[in-house]
């Protein structure tokens, strides 16, 4: 069955009949000013969400202020203590409308909050006008009904449309009397693509090549090159790490480090190899439960490491922490992380009581919790290795060479020990030992505590004394071949222990400790109520019957075609990555309280395309970035901005400040400082002096920031050590990595400006960029400035801009000439030495201008 849902916007929109679609862009605007009836307002789709968002806090069946409830159609029609609130067909006689408008001498509703938007008021008015139809009021919330592939609207005469995404977008634009913007210029396009897909700006060569490549598939080739880049995975991993609350430390007192970076590398590799999303999900939730998975093979080990996703939670090591309490806190976190990341569900609300809006009961919550409840863990760290504090279960997870070595050393050590023990028990060895003992009892060189044992007759010796003597003999008196046999074993054992100490130990999942699960009264683990069993929420389609009721079954259910949420939630987050905001503006919540998407057909089409296309992530992303929608310029006219300030109709390209981790990468890359080495232990780039000193409140451990040296200072931001208690000072607006975060923070504060102006990272990058353009050959300041600007913004500055840059250069030259000593001071920021062949005043002046270029809005923004 194909359902075409025409979710037209009741204020802007007019229902467009298919006969209109044949008309091209030029004529559409006139045509659309049709004289048709206003679109039908639907109670469930249009009215219910307004009540839910703005009214039900005070007017629900439980709160019922003024005896009015607005959470069921029946109650709405019934009205309040003073009578009905709506008069079908007569908005002017409806109390509801008066109250939201603040008419009739009564306070405006919602009281204490801002007024409803004009759009919402118009929708309510239209609904009353049309007769207060509440049909379908019991219909399920859209996100709980599995998406069906909508028919792609046909616009045969449109020259703008490149793929189905554009058809859906175009249709909405028509309804709102909007037209698409022209395509962005090529410099903008390649910078946009490069930053979006790899988090790195294009090189000058890449820009030049693309600008001059007149072949029809030039754009597609750039897209394919970037999708195949190893840096693609690093870029795409960033939002996933925020969702997974990935961090390199535990996040409480003593804030022990962990080895979860191995999991981080797993994510990067999986994304680079375009692992299908269903597999990506299954391995992270339940890799340990897949058939045949053991630590013995690299493949098996990888699947175990993948489950580090579930174990990336905070871990409390405070003195006096009650382990079972902490274990439950971790379980809550896992339920919340899993349901937000994969399902866009706000399960946390059901921890203490049934969900107030969504059909999620408290029983559902604890049934989900039961999936994660069987891990052989206590709730607090179990092992301390230096500054690392980790909790069982964990696995050794080194490189394939290291693992091969581990797997050969372990049996070899056991064998060597057995060989020696066999020898030790042999009559020959025992005779030798007795002979040594009688000789030693007369030997003056034997330590006192040993000779004291020897004085006692052998059958009267206490066992610990006897052992001490025996150990002494083994270490000092053993003759060949016993001595060599023992040495071989001890050497192997030491080698094995050293290897084990050095190997990363990744916390992973295991179901080896089955436990009973209960509903907790008000979320309190000390007040268990009825027992529950692992199960997915009752109101959603059931788990496939053939799947086990464990995490593996949960994962299979998440990616089953009947699951209405997973594909929508994922494609929405991909959209967010490329357009700054999702099609559903609340990526963390697809429930009843979410904002319904303006373009649900586009969302559903993408979701079905994604799912039916084998959960092929790169394929879906390729579709998005090759759409005409994506390729539009982000310039906005006054008129367009006024009509659509939030760009919900995508009648222009998206323009937004880059995530701070990428701003740093881009500065390092433009200046040539960047070290693109991938993976491995986290590094410690520049941070303000004493960034962690606040943590060093006791002598328990040293919290001196161990700043890296040399090229490790310039690794990509993803490899920066993330201390959960004190995040990197120069990576603003990033997820806290304490709890699951799927919506990036996009604020603008003076503190951000201080970072990119004053942090040595940017000062040094400015100098490296300056030296690069100075050494590139040209002596013409305009050419040098233009070159620097291009390396950051990909385009050439226009003449006005060049004039300002030159003014800035002259300003800096004058300042440094007036005081040459400060030029030297300025040049010696950061570890990298200035290029001695460049005259210091000139170098300092160019460095200062280049640092300014790195601070342009354009440099911080993906246009």
């Amino acid at each position: 069955m194909v359902v075409v849902r025409l979710f037209s916007n009741p204020v802007f929109g007019r229902i467009v009949t298919s006969s209109l679609f044949a008309i091209g862009i030029a004529g559409f605007a006139n045509t659309l000013v049709d004289r048709g009836v206003a679109p039908k307002v639907e109670y469930v789709r249009d009215i219910q969400p307004i009540f839910a968002a703005h009214c039900q806090q005070c007017h629900s069946a439980t709160t019922k202020m003024g005896k009015l409830a607005l959470d069921s159609a029946q109650a709405v029609l019934k009205g309040s203590s003073s009578g009905t609130i709506v008069t079908p067909g007569k908005p002017e006689q409806s109390v509801l409308l008066d109250r939201i408008l603040g008419k009739g001498g009564q306070p405006r509703m919602p009281m204490g909050f801002g007024p409803l938007s004009d759009k919402d008021i118009a929708t309510i008015r239209a609904w009353i006008e049309q007769g207060c139809d509440t049909r379908g009021a019991k219909r399920a919330h859209w996100a709980y009904v599995a998406p069906v592939r909508p028919k792609v609207p046909a616009f045969p005469n449109s020259h703008w449309i490149r793929n189905p995404i554009d058809s859906f977008v175009y249709k909405k634009q028509l309804e709102a009397h909007l037209v698409p913007s022209p395509e962005a210029d090529r410099e903008t396009l390649i910078r946009r693509l490069s930053l979006d897909l790899t988090g790195l700006p294009p090189t000058l060569e890449e820009v030049d090549h693309f600008v001059s490549d007149k072949s029809p598939n030039a754009y597609d080739q750039v897209v394919d090159r970037l999708l195949a880049s190893a840096h693609y995975g690093e870029r795409m991993a960033l939002p996933w790490l925020d969702a997974a609350r990935y961090s390199d430390s535990n996040g409480f007192q003593q804030d022990g480090d962990n080895y979860q970076y191995v999991w981080r590398d797993w994510v990067v590799n999986a994304l680079n190899s375009n692992m299908p999303f269903d597999q990506f999900t299954t391995e992270q939730l339940a890799g340990d439960l897949l058939p045949g998975v053991t630590t013995g093979s690299i493949d098996g080990l990888n699947k175990l490491v993948a489950t580090g996703f579930v174990r990336d939670n905070m871990l409390n090591n405070e003195g006096g922490a009650i382990p079972e309490e902490q274990r439950n806190v971790e379980l809550f976190d896992r339920v919340d992380t899993c349901s937000t990341t994969f399902l866009g569900l706000t399960m946390a609300c059901a921890r203490c009581h049934d969900h107030k809006y969504d059909p999620l009961s408290q029983k559902d919550y604890y049934s989900m919790l039961a999936f994660f409840n069987n891990v052989p863990e206590t709730g607090i760290p179990s092992d301390t290795i230096g500054g690392y504090y980790i909790a069982k279960p964990w696995v050794y997870a080194g490189s394939s060479d290291e693992m091969a070595k581990l797997h050969s050393l372990e049996p070899a050590t056991t064998l060597a020990e057995q060989t020696f023990r066999k020898f030790e028990k042999s009559p020959q060895a025992q005779a030798e030992e007795r002979a040594w003992e009688s000789k030693a009892s007369k030997d003056a060189a034997i330590p006192k505590e040993i000779s004291a044992v020897l004085m006692v007759a052998s059958e009267k010796r206490k066992s610990d004394a006897s052992n001490r003597l025996h150990e002494y003999y083994l270490a000092n008196g053993l003759a060949e071949p016993g001595k060599s046999t023992r040495k071989k074993w001890l050497d192997l054992r030491k080698e094995l222990e050293d290897l084990k100490t050095a190997l990363p130990k990744v916390m992973v999942m295991s179901d080896r400790q089955p436990r009973k699960a209960h509903v907790f009264s008000r979320g309190n683990y000390e007040s268990p109520l009825s027992e529950v069993f692992a199960c997915t929420p009752a109101s959603l389609p059931p788990m496939p019957p053939e799947e086990p009721k464990n995490r593996l079954g949960l994962a299979k259910w998440i990616v089953s075609p009947s699951n209405p949420l997973t594909a929508r939630v994922q494609v929405n987050r991909y959209w967010q990555l490329f357009f700054g905001k999702g099609l559903v503006k609340t990526p963390e919540n697809f429930g009843v309280q979410s904002e319904p998407p303006l373009n649900p057909e586009l969302l559903d089409w993408l979701a079905v395309e994604f799912r039916e296309g084998g959960w092929n992530v790169k394929k879906l992303q390729r579709l998005i970035v090759t759409s005409a929608t994506y390729r539009q310029t982000s310039k906005v006219s006054r008129a367009l901005y006024q009509k659509d300030p939030e760009n919900r109709y995508f009648a222009r390209g998206a323009r937004f400040r880059m995530p701070s981790l990428i701003i740093r990468d881009a500065a390092l890359a433009s200046s040539g400082l960047i070290n693109l080495k991938m993976g491995g232990k986290p590094v410690y780039p520049y941070q303000p002096k004493g960034i962690w000193d606040g943590l060093a409140i006791t002598d328990e451990r040293d919290f001196t920031y161990p700043q890296s040296k040399g090229s490790d200072l310039y690794r990509r931001s993803i490899y920066t050590f993330w201390r959960r208690t004190v995040g990197p000072g120069n990576m603003f607006d990033a997820g806290s990595r304490q709890v699951c975060t799927v919506r990036p923070s996009q604020t603008s504060t003076p503190l951000h400006a201080l970072i990119t102006m004053n942090d040595v990272t940017w000062v040094e990058a400015g100098r490296a960029l300056a030296e690069k353009v100075i050494m590139s050959g040209s002596h013409d300041p305009m050419a040098r400035l233009s070159d620097a600007f291009r390396r950051v913004c990909a385009r050439r500055p226009n003449s006005n801009e060049l004039k300002i840059l030159k003014r800035s250069l002259d300003r800096s030259l004058a300042a440094f000439r007036a005081d040459p000593k400060v030029a030297e001071t300025y040049l010696h920021q950061g570890e990298r030495q200035p290029n001695a062949s460049i005259e210091p005043i000139e170098n300092a002046a160019y460095s200062n201008v280049c640092a300014a270029i790195l601070n342009l809005d354009e440099a911080l923004t993906r246009e």
Binding site: D255, V636, K689
Partner: protein, 492 residues
Amino acid sequence: MNPFFERDLRMTRRQFFGKTASGLGVVALGSLLQQEGFAATLQRARGHAAGAPALPGLPHFPAKAKRVIVLWQGGAPSQVDLFDYKPNLAKMRLQELPESVRAGTRLSTMTATQGKFPILPAIKPFRQYGECGRWMSEMLPHIGSISDEIAVVRSMHTDAVNHAPGVTFFLTGSQIPGRPSMGAWATYGLGTMTDELPSFVVMTSSDEKKTCGQLFFDYYWGSGFIPSKYQGVQFRSGGDPVLYLTNPPGISPELRKGVLKDITDLDQQRLADYGDPEIETRITQYELAFKMQTSVPELTDISKEPASILEMYGPDVTKKGTYAHNCLLARRLIERGVRFVQLMHSGWDQHGNLDTQLELQCRDTDQPSAALVKDLKQRGLLDDTIVLWCGEFGRTVFAQGDVNRHDAHGRDHFGACYSLWVAGGGFKGGTEHGETDDFCYKVVKDPVGVHDMQATLLHQLGIDHERLTYRYQGRDFRLTDVSGEVIPHLIA
């Protein structure tokens, strides 16, 4: 949009660049501004930029207070020794705490399995202070001297038995990290009163020997899911008071100002070309950053404070990073329009060093805490500034460790009852609220939960704690979660 704020911004812009500095970019912007409608867009952008006005509808009712100072006593001070006077316990020294008293109370794992629970009465005598005649420890003479200014709650209780969850609960309303903190809520709801300083400032200190071991995590002043511009900004005692505040060595303020003008002119070119109001926001933020570079050092420079003021705060006041120094800075911040100041002090976790450490902690914090209240009062600021002195929980009446060794015993964490005090901002000085049983073990009258205290603080700020909400994951979250009642007895 607040028109005065808007006017200030534009005036500042002119002052910032001087009259002659009308580059081409400025001209282009000017012509844009004349266009109908676009100006409104830019105004909105600026409003978002600088932190912001109060939310519509706020305050919900006339506010008694505009500002808050939290004097956080981290590690959990002993109410048994300081505030909750139980003279009869002296006679029961080292007797076993009756099982009937203990039953059903949550203890930390450090003492839950302890075999004996010997009663340890207050280690120093109490005496009466002020006209209200309140009993408090003789170790707190200075706080005693403001006895008539402060309201003491003796019936606080909390669910937490460990520091991080306890602190997180009090400061964010939930034991689990990730919710917005009180300061973030207050600045989000009430907006900012200055654009030269952050509106929510945090400073930390600890006892000199760092015996306490409590860390301060940034989620204690985080913004959770509300925009991160509302999170507390930590002023540090070493290096730059605000991270990255200082120009790189070699860049003078004049050169920086010049380069900022160049950046602004280039940004305005882009604004003219792209029309994205975010560019205007960015320009404003760079200007504010420059202003902060002057206003923060001015704030932290206490050299012009008269000797009489310094004396009030005690000898440590001139030592950066001490509690006393931070108390003085708190007053300077409040004077300059900062909305919420949170001093995080660590030093009260006396498990095994009660006899040796408690008195030292009192000495470090008693005089500066009292001085701050007095100083605010003499400047007329106490009336609309709340000063809250509290920790994450209390301590057990029974001893932990070896009571026969002077330096090897103390008290464990205890959430079932503890004490705090609050002054100013319409709180009733001299008030007592709540009572505990004879063993300082259970609340027997007027219990006050953490959410009740939060509700009362917000109430004084003109905020109905049930109506200051933020929608996240489809739910309207609030500081007090699903509980909390204002305590009328505490407020005038």
